[in-house]
């Protein structure tokens, strides 16, 4: 991973399938780049009744701002009438989701294919 500061540390990759969009996040999701996820999703034409999977498996670090961005992304997806699912992530991400009990609000899945 390039050791640059700020937004470059987060990579967002979109993969559209039938009724299902995979948003693969990698790097770090934190205060420095938390607004990027939302702006990427806003540009995405989300179909109602579809599923958007936020894939966190490649996220190495996430802080509370990152978590806030994740919850905002879920809100946006659900406002468009789509369903949002989040994969499990690294140990640090898992711990954050557990400590904050954000798992209570998110639909967690084990793998993006599910």
């Amino acid at each position: 991973m390039p050791s640059v500061r700020g937004a470059d540390r987060l990579q967002i990759e979109l993969k559209r399938g039938r009724g299902r969009t995979l948003v693969r996040l990698s790097g770090e999701l934190d205060l420095a780049n938390s607004t990027r996820l939302r702006s990427e999703l806003e540009r995405l034409d989300i179909e109602a009744e579809s599923t958007v999977v936020l894939d966190l498996r490649e996220i190495e670090f996430m802080d509370s701002s990152g978590l806030r961005a994740l919850l905002a992304a879920q809100e946006l997806i659900e406002q468009r009438g789509a369903e949002c699912a989040v994969t499990r992530g690294s140990e640090q991400v898992e711990r954050l989701l557990r400590v904050t009990q954000a798992t209570k609000y998110l639909q967690m899945i084990d793998s993006p294919a599910a």
Partner: protein, 746 residues
């Protein structure tokens, strides 16, 4: 060759006159070093005393023979011979006695020459007729030699009825020729040397670098035109005719630090001390005009080859003014920028800038700042401490008032730079405020002045005054543009510093709002807290903690983390703390307190609404305490047993401010004497963003030591470790709050 003893006692050729001849020849040969003249004089010495005709022939470098001098007793003969020889040069390989002698290096005496003999070596019939017509009778030809080489031949002839030459005459001619040979050699060497010298002079004269040669007495004995130009003379001759020291007196010579240099520091003088001096870089100011030049002077000795004594100093001067000005300007700007960026206490950095400016770009520098209370002079600097005192007195009188028609206020009002060149005493009166002020201005001997505004985004924030005084230097357009650059840089720095100071003040105020000024005392409970914000002071926000006194109920300890940074987050953080405090004071239960905060946060803009809280209630039970732990998305606190064994307490609950409903469960624990409860924020674990669980693992390891440590030291260690994990710069705030019931007194 025939020799005749009888003729040796020819009257008029006495030994005395022969000695005289040699003495005369010696005198002639010693006085002149010009070859042609010398040879002419030698030839004339022999005529008419010794001979009727004398010719000196020299061998050219190509081996040909040329006539160098002819002397004859008979009028017109010398010229006629010269013309003949010009038409019929001697064949160097022929039988002419001169050719033979130059080849053999041996003298030849032709005591009696028959017509047949003359014809035998004549260079053609005209030559033969010439010799016969002029009745050539007797000849003595001696080689002109020096250093083993035959340079030519000296021929003496007697004509008509003159007696033939004797062996004695031959010996005399040979001796004369030997001396003439040496003289010719010397003259040639001299001529070669002159040639070298002339070429050298031609080279030096055409050099762009100034070159001078100075003798032991300090007299300039040589200078080229470049030297004349550099030293302010019209011609090199003006320099070589000036008495020693007078040229130097035209200049003020300063070293790089502005100290005046005397004659004894000049490399051209130090050469005579028998050392090879280092090149000297000096600032040279023409006293008459104030023109400034940077000159690099190098000098080398020219020693007497015999005594080794230094006779001359050859100096080469390079005018590097332009290079130096650019270098000084760049170096000064780099240094000034570094100083201006080094600190936010801008009054101090401006003082440093003033110190940098002197003597590099001015003799005196003053900096005025435009503040809410008018104009304030924040820096005055002069390289000379006596003058500095004067400058400070002047500054106290010269305190600019914005509405006065003085220069500094004008620059501050208009934002336009001013340059005053060639200030003379009468002009000072217009600048002076009163007589005392004028007296000081005069004492200052200012010769030029530049006043530039310090420009920030909103306009002038101050002014920089640069003054030239004893250095006499003129300020140029380049100096003005440098000063303007400095003004812009300093203006931006001042403005940034003021903004920063303002932001820091706000941030500090905010941060103070996030934490209690002091912790209350809970009887029988040791308590300690630490907080270290990430990043710059003005990036306040994030973590908070507090301890509330019970209003008849339990003590409440809170620690929390608001997502985000900066004033917005700090505002939410303060809101969280005060909301919880107010709720606690009004006797709300922990879950109600968290619910109230959650509702408050739901009204905050997205992004600054997320908050995690760990809330612990504490009721004294005997020596220990009963704890009620409620977690809203926050780390579980650690309970460290007296043995160092550490466990997490509390049930994870949902975070606040983002989603409804919140789900939080209060759980209980007991804290016995000697046991420690540690509340912390995730900066402790993630200040350095460790991968995996290393942050937590390290924290748990530290907890083992807790029972042996005073609480404050324990927290210090945690904080230090978090800082180390983060490589010295925390990326997240760290807040710590710990309690420990005191062990029962023994």
């Amino acid at each position: 060759m025939s020799r005749s003893e009888e003729i040796s006692s020819t009257p008029g050729r006495s030994p005395a006159s022969r000695v005289e001849l040699l003495l005369e020849a010696g005198a002639v040969l010693a006085t002149s070093l010009d070859l042609r003249t010398t040879m002419g004089q030698v030839a004339h010495l022999t005529v008419p005393g010794l001979a009727d005709l004398c010719a000196i022939d020299l061998v050219n470098k190509d081996g040909s023979i040329r006539e160098a001098a002819v002397a004859a007793a008979e009028e017109g003969l010398a010229q006629a011979l010269e013309e003949l020889r010009a038409r019929h040069p001697l064949d160097p390989n022929g039988q002419h006695p001169v050719a033979r002698v130059t080849r053999s290096g041996e003298p030849e005496l032709l005591a009696e020459m028959s017509e047949g003999l003359l014809r035998s070596f004549a260079q053609g019939s005209e030559h033969a007729r010439f010799m016969i017509a002029h009745r050539y009778r007797s000849a003595a030809v001696a080689p002109l030699s020096a250093r083993g080489r035959t340079l030519g031949a000296l021929s003496v002839l007697r004509l008509g009825d003159s007696p033939p030459f004797t062996d004695e005459d031959m010996a005399l001619v040979s001796e004369l020729a030997r001396r003439a040979g040496l003289a010719i050699d010397n003259a040639r060497l001299f001529s070669d040397l002159r040639g070298v010298e002339q070429r050298l002079e031609a080279i030096l004269a055409s050099l762009a670098e100034a070159v001078t040669v100075i003798d032991e007495g300090g007299q300039i004995v040589f200078a080229n035109q470049a030297a004349a130009d550099l030293l302010g003379a019209t011609t090199p001759a003006e320099l070589t005719s000036a008495p020693p020291g007078t040229i130097m007196a035209r200049f003020l010579v300063l070293d790089e630090r502005g100290r005046e240099l005397g004659l004894e520091s000049m490399p051209s003088r130090r050469v005579f001390e028998g050392i090879q001096p280092e090149p000297l870089l000096a600032r040279n100011i023409v006293r008459a005009t104030g023109e400034e030049r940077w000159i690099l002077a190098r000098s080398s000795p020219v020693s007497d080859p015999e005594t080794g004594r230094v006779r001359y100093a050859v100096s080469v001067f390079e005018n590097i003014t332009e290079v130096k000005h650019v270098e000084i300007a760049e170096r000064f700007m780099a240094e000034a920028s570094r100083v201006l960026a080094s600190s936010m206490s801008y009054k101090q950095t401006l003082r440093q800038v003033a110190e940098l400016a002197v003597p590099l770009i001015a003799d005196w520098c003053a900096i005025d700042l435009l503040g809410p209370d008018g104009v304030e002079r924040v820096a005055v600097h002069h390289s000379d401490s006596e003058r500095l005192a004067l400058a400070e007195r002047l500054a106290s009188l010269d305190r600019p008032v914005l509405h006065e028609p003085a220069i500094v206020p004008e620059v501050l009002r208009t934002g336009r730079a001013q340059i005053l060149t060639d200030i003379r005493p009468p002009g000072l009166a217009t600048l002076a405020r009163d007589r005392e002020h004028l007296r000081l201005l005069e004492a200052f001997k200012a010769t030029a002045m530049i006043i530039v505004p310090m420009i920030g985004a909103t306009g002038p924030v101050g002014a920089i005054t640069l003054v030239s005084s004893e250095s006499l230097r003129h300020f140029t357009a380049a100096d003005l543009s440098l000063a303007e650059r400095l003004g812009r840089r300093a203006g931006t720095a001042v403005e940034n510093a003021r903004l920063y100071t303002e932001r820091t003040r706000i941030a500090l105020t905010l941060q103070n709002a996030l934490r209690p000024q002091s912790l209350p005392e809970i009887p029988g409970i040791e308590m300690s807290a630490r907080y270290s914000p990430a990043g710059e002071l003005n990036e306040a926000g994030g973590d908070f903690y507090d301890v509330f006194e019970p209003a008849g109920g339990d003590w409440t300890l809170v620690i929390g983390d608001v997502c985000g940074k900066g004033p917005g987050a700090a505002g939410v953080t303060a809101l969280a703390r005060h909301t919880l405090k107010a709720a606690a004071m009004s006797g709300q239960s922990p879950l109600e307190m968290l619910q109230i905060l959650h509702q408050e946060l739901r009204h905050q803009p997205p992004g600054e609404d997320l908050c995690t809280v760990c809330l612990v209630t504490l009721a004294r039970v005997g020596e220990g305490a009963r704890l009620g732990i409620s977690l809203a998305g926050h780390q579980q606190p650690l309970l460290i047993a007296a043995t160092g064994e550490t466990g997490k307490v509390g049930e994870p609950g949902t975070l606040l401010g983002v989603r409804d409903p919140i789900e939080i469960t209060e759980s209980t624990a007991t804290l016995d004497p000697g046991e420690t409860l540690l509340l912390y924020t995730d900066g402790v674990l993630e200040g350095g963003k460790p991968r995996g669980r290393s942050g937590e693992r390290r924290l748990l390891e530290l907890c083992r030591q807790a029972p042996e440590l005073e609480l404050s030291r324990f927290l210090q260690r945690i904080e230090r470790q978090a800082l180390e994990n983060a490589g010295g710069a925390l990326s997240d705030d760290v807040a710590l709050l710990a309690i420990r019931p005191s062990p029962p007194p023994r």
